[in-house]
């Protein structure tokens, strides 16, 4: 879980770094998106690793939840989990399932059309009719025109933030890294779990109201 979590947290950071360019400089965003979408190393080496990491993380999450629920065959009549642990730490499976549902929506929005264009239609040009230059910025802006989609994205990113609020430090702890550096890691974890989702939320809302 922890190893795939590290990879996915790094991926989120690079994803946000590229997406924020759509606000700062649409031209640069188009250039970088085209590079990422057509570079053979990204497409045929990194992308399969990413897909594997996502699938592995979710499968392991379910396996972990199943094994852990079996470890307590009779539940407590009264259990006060809030007395000793955070809501985020106790509900990783639910925040994770929300993120899984979001990935489904995100794939329908961006990934499946991209796969269709490149691998089925064989169009690797990065252009589309009626758009000058590359199509990526136009596609992104178009997706956030509908308020329902923006709301779905914002809610999903809030759940991503809750997932990361526990997951960041938990991954380090599982890899044996917390001891002696707990306070620093917790501070970095809190900052990461706020900055990443807030960045994505900002991008979605920005494009909704500015185009």
């Amino acid at each position: 879980m922890a190893l795939s979590a590290f990879f996915l947290m790094f991926f989120l950071l690079q994803h946000l770094s590229i997406n924020i360019l759509s606000v700062l400089s649409p031209e640069t965003f188009n250039e970088v998106s085209h590079f990422m979408g057509t570079n053979p190393i990204v497409q045929f080496a990194l992308q399969p690793v990413l897909i594997f990491a996502v699938v592995f993380h979710f499968v392991m999450g379910f396996v972990l939840e199943l094994r852990n629920s079996r470890a307590r065959n009779v539940s407590y009549a009264k259990n006060n989990g809030a007395a000793n642990s955070t809501w985020m730490s106790r509900n990783m499976i639910w925040t994770g399932l929300t993120i899984l549902a979001f990935i489904g929506l995100h794939f329908i929005d961006f990934w499946f059309p991209e796969i269709n264009t490149k691998f089925i239609q064989g169009d690797w040009s990065g252009t589309m009719q009626g758009v000058d230059g590359f199509r990526y910025h136009e596609e992104l802006v178009h997706k956030f025109a509908h308020p329902a989609r923006v709301i779905a994205y914002v809610v999903s990113f809030i759940f991503l933030g809750l997932h990361l609020a526990h997951g960041f430090t938990s991954a380090f702890q599982s890899m044996g890294g917390t001891a002696g550096r707990k306070k620093t890691l917790q501070t970095i974890g809190k900052a990461y779990s706020i900055i990443i989702p807030a960045g994505f939320i900002f991008i979605a809302i920005y494009h909704h109201f500015n185009h």
């Binding site: 852990n68 079996r70 009264k78 000793n84 990783m92 430090t169 702890q173 044996g176 707990k182």
Partner: protein, 246 residues
């Protein structure tokens, strides 16, 4: 104070149990929780009923025998205490107190509030020791220099009394705080180095075999541990296991 107690009653390991309500009156706030249970049991014996079975021994927070899940928390609402150190001043007149046994598949109920914690013994047998024969060969304590920090951290880990509150409170019934403490107390000292790799591998393997869950780092165990065993011990155990696996 007058209290209503909701207590798990179970005749034996094979019989299905249930929560049963009892009333106790004139409980002093200075009583320990176990003394309050003694009052209840005296009341039950006098009325010809079966007293509530519960584990207890030293009644001073050392032996790790007492094991009650009180109002949804291992060893009750106080911090850094075992059930025998919990005082009735933590409750109010008229309160309803729910008392259950530790719940974990690896800790089956024997009777009422008594659970079988021999899974912990088997984990200890798997590696929680050093094989050096110290009987009659005791060295001078200062013949092996050990840093103050290592000695203190090892001692902190060694204060684990094996009560099982970590397992009881963990949403996953994980025993990793217990095993982490037992691995750490040896891993930090030179005497434990020779068997370090085998120790952590065997103890973790036994822990998994016993059916405990996996740690998801909620930190509940650290909060509820009567001896304040730190989560750092779990991180150290993970490091030891990785080191042993490479």
């Amino acid at each position: 104070m007058n209290l209503t107690l909701k207590i798990w009653r179970q005749k034996d390991s094979k019989t299905k149990g249930q929560m049963v309500d009892y009333k106790v009156t004139e409980i002093s706030e200075h009583m320990s929780f176990l003394e309050m249970m003694d009052v209840l049991n005296e009341q039950l014996v006098n009325s010809g009923e079966e007293p509530v079975a519960f584990d207890h021994d030293c009644r001073e927070g050392i032996c790790g025998m007492c094991s009650m899940y009180i109002n949804g928390e291992a060893h009750g609402p106080d911090r850094g205490v075992t059930t025998c150190q919990l005082h009735m001043r933590m409750f109010k007149d008229g309160d309803t107190i729910t008392i259950e046994p530790w719940r974990a598949a690896a800790f089956p109920v024997i009777k009422d509030l008594v659970v079988n914690r021999s899974a912990f013994d088997r984990i200890q047998h798997a590696g929680g020791y050093i094989s050096v024969n110290t009987s009659g060969n005791t060295q001078d304590a200062n013949s092996i220099p050990i840093s103050k920090h290592a000695a203190d951290t090892a001692m902190d880990a060694a204060t684990c009394i094996g009560c099982g509150a970590c397992v009881a409170t963990c949403k996953n019934s994980s025993a990793m705080l217990f095993v982490g403490a037992k691995v750490s107390q040896y891993a930090l000292l030179p005497q434990g180095q020779v068997e370090a790799a085998d120790r952590v591998r065997n103890m973790v393997a036994q822990m998994d075999l016993e059916g405990f869950g996996n740690c998801t780092n909620t930190g509940a165990c650290e909060v509820e541990c009567p001896k304040g065993i730190s989560l750092d011990n779990i991180a150290r155990m993970n490091r030891e296991l990785m080191k042993a696996s490479i």
